[in-house]
């Protein structure tokens, strides 16, 4: 594994340094890049996706992120596996329709939901997107207890979408703090295209 330190480097320097490391690798292996902002994580992830490298990223702390790319045979082998078993990685969709998890006690439900989203940030495989609607829409807005974790998921490349009608309904249209506003058409399209839908 080659380690690249791109802390403090503005885009596109992290990408340029990582590309040089991949060249230096001269074949298969891993390159780990440290960066200090989410946008750099997204630009690195975008490159890896275009190049067909396996990519994973992690928030290590405030203004500290790690992006690991797997290049060459290691990545190619995994692609071969796809032929036998369709790999639904990156095609899992999480749907959050309420601000609490399960029914019974809502106070408990809120605690469980916070724990669920935190646990999600710790998974090796992340969903491609999370859709928030109805009561779930409150979680992406101001005063949500899980904002930090949702932001961390977004930084790792997970698309965060919140239903616009729901934001309107709860009077939260100007309170959205993470991700983007979506509509029913896009929600249905995401669900139809998902390999697996996870609904806590």
């Amino acid at each position: 594994m080659i380690k690249v330190n791109a802390m403090g480097d503005p885009c596109p320097i992290p990408v340029v340094k990582t590309k040089n490391a991949i060249k230096e690798l001269g074949g298969s292996g891993q390159v780990e890049t440290l960066v200090d902002n989410e946008i750099a994580v997204q630009n690195l992830t975008k490159m890896a996706n275009q190049k067909g490298y396996k990519v994973a990223s992690e928030k290590l702390g405030d203004n500290r992120y790690k992006v690991v790319m797997t290049i060459g045979e290691a990545a190619a082998e995994e692609k071969k596996d796809d032929i036998c078993v369709p790999d639904m990685r990156g095609n899992k969709l999480v749907v959050i329709s309420s601000s609490h998890m399960g029914s019974g006690d809502d106070e408990l439900g809120a605690v469980l939901m916070k724990a669920f989203i935190f646990a999600l940030t710790q998974q090796d495989e992340l969903p491609s997107a999370i859709v928030f609607y109805n009561g779930g829409a409150k979680l992406t807005c101001e005063n949500s207890p899980t904002l930090e974790d949702i932001r961390s998921l977004e930084a790792q490349g997970v698309e965060i979408m919140t239903c616009g009608t729901c934001l309107d309904h709860y009077g939260l249209s100007d309170k959205l703090m993470v991700g983007s506003v979506t509509n029913m058409y896009a929600i249905v399209e995401k669900m139809m295209g998902a390999g697996l839908i996870i609904r806590p």
Binding site: C11, P12, V15, Q42, N43
Partner: protein, 343 residues
């Protein structure tokens, strides 16, 4: 060499704050009492403020400044000024006075500042305006721009959000200058590409705006940091949708290669994060997507007008040698706000 390093970080409109961050703040600011003479304020996130002072005269006021995106200080001055002056043209006004805005490190060679301001002042003169003063601050990095005042006929102000369904969109400059300058910063841009980008950025939008005066323009804005798609998103105003003709997008050819090498700005990714979910790309290459999200410094005018008017305007602009193209069509509001197709 240290001077050089200070001089060129991520400059130009790539240094703009993201539209997403900004809109959240703007929405929360306290509002002044309504004044009917303020024709354009930042409610519509338009290019400049317009204030009517009589039946036939309105003041157009704007400012713009940023860090350098090219090594040469004189060229940077010209680009920063052309970019600041552009907002007046995007509103349909003409330039009257300009004030320098300068941030400059105390220990840096003042000749550099002289060259920057020389480039800027040349552009103000070319615009027909007078450089009438300014303000300078000692700062760790170089930044330069202008505060500009122009006048316009209040009955003929171009807002950015009054396009009509069926209108065609004319874009007057090539896209890709953000990508080319980014590639240039890491030594990957060809001389030809850099020259084309610099020529494009130093070109005043005055000449396109002069042509606009002969047409019934419904909406107009200049394409800058928020990228073509970002500025179209603002133009649609939650009221319309748009189809983009990917095969008619004018762009600097090398931008495509540099995008495929991932020489991309943070601002481009921020633009993608901000408007990406409103856009559907139909069989569009990665490089073209990036060109459409590319933040432009001193980009062209984006003009909405009826179909026959647009065709006539386009041929007049082409006759004058401008790289203008018809890049899209406004439609009634659909599920998908911006559909990009036909590459």
């Amino acid at each position: 060499m240290t001077d050089k390093n200070i001089f060129c970080k991520g400059g130009g409109c790539t240094a703009k704050l993201g539209a997403g961050v900004l809109s959240r703040i703007l929405e929360k600011l306290p509002k002044a009492p309504f004044d009917k003479n303020l024709i354009v304020g930042f409610d519509s996130r338009d290019d400049a403020a317009v204030y009517k002072i009589s039946e036939d005269t309105a003041i157009v006021q704007t400012l713009d400044f940023f860090p350098p995106m090219v090594e040469d200080p004189y060229t940077f001055g010209k680009i920063a000024a052309a970019n600041a002056l552009s907002d007046i043209y995007a509103m349909g006004g003409c330039v009257k006075t300009a004030l320098n805005i300068v941030c400059f490190p105390e220990n840096m060679d003042l000749n550099i500042l002289g060259q920057i301001m020389c480039g800027g002042s040349e552009k103000v003169i070319e615009a027909g305006g007078i450089l009438a003063g300014g303000h300078s601050i000692a700062d760790s990095d170089v930044k330069y721009g202008l505060s500009v005042m122009g006048i316009a006929d209040p009955r003929r102000i171009y807002k950015n959000n009054e396009g009509k369904a069926g209108d065609l969109l004319v874009l007057t400059k090539k896209l890709g200058v953000g990508i080319v300058c980014t590639a240039g910063r890491v030594g990957e841009a060809s001389k030809r590409a850099m020259n084309e980008a610099v020529d494009s950025m130093t070109m005043l939008n005055k000449y396109a705006a002069d042509i606009c005066k002969g047409y019934d323009v419904h909406a107009c804005t200049d394409v800058t940091g928020f990228s073509l798609l970002g500025h179209i998103h603002e133009m649609l105003d939650n009221r319309l949708s748009c189809e983009i003709f990917a095969d008619r997008i004018p762009y600097i050819p090398e931008a495509r290669d540099y995008a495929d090498e991932f020489l991309l700005t943070a601002a481009g990714q921020r633009n993608r994060n901000f408007v990406g979910n409103n856009v559907l790309f139909e069989n569009i290459s990665f490089a073209m997507e990036e060109i459409l999200f590319d933040p432009q410094t001193s980009g062209g005018l984006l003009i909405a007008l009826s179909e026959d008017q647009a065709e006539k305007m386009l041929s007049e602009m082409k006759e004058k040698g401008m790289p203008a193209e018809i890049v899209g069509r406004l439609t009634e509001k659909k599920n998908i706000e911006i559909l990009v197709k036909g590459e």
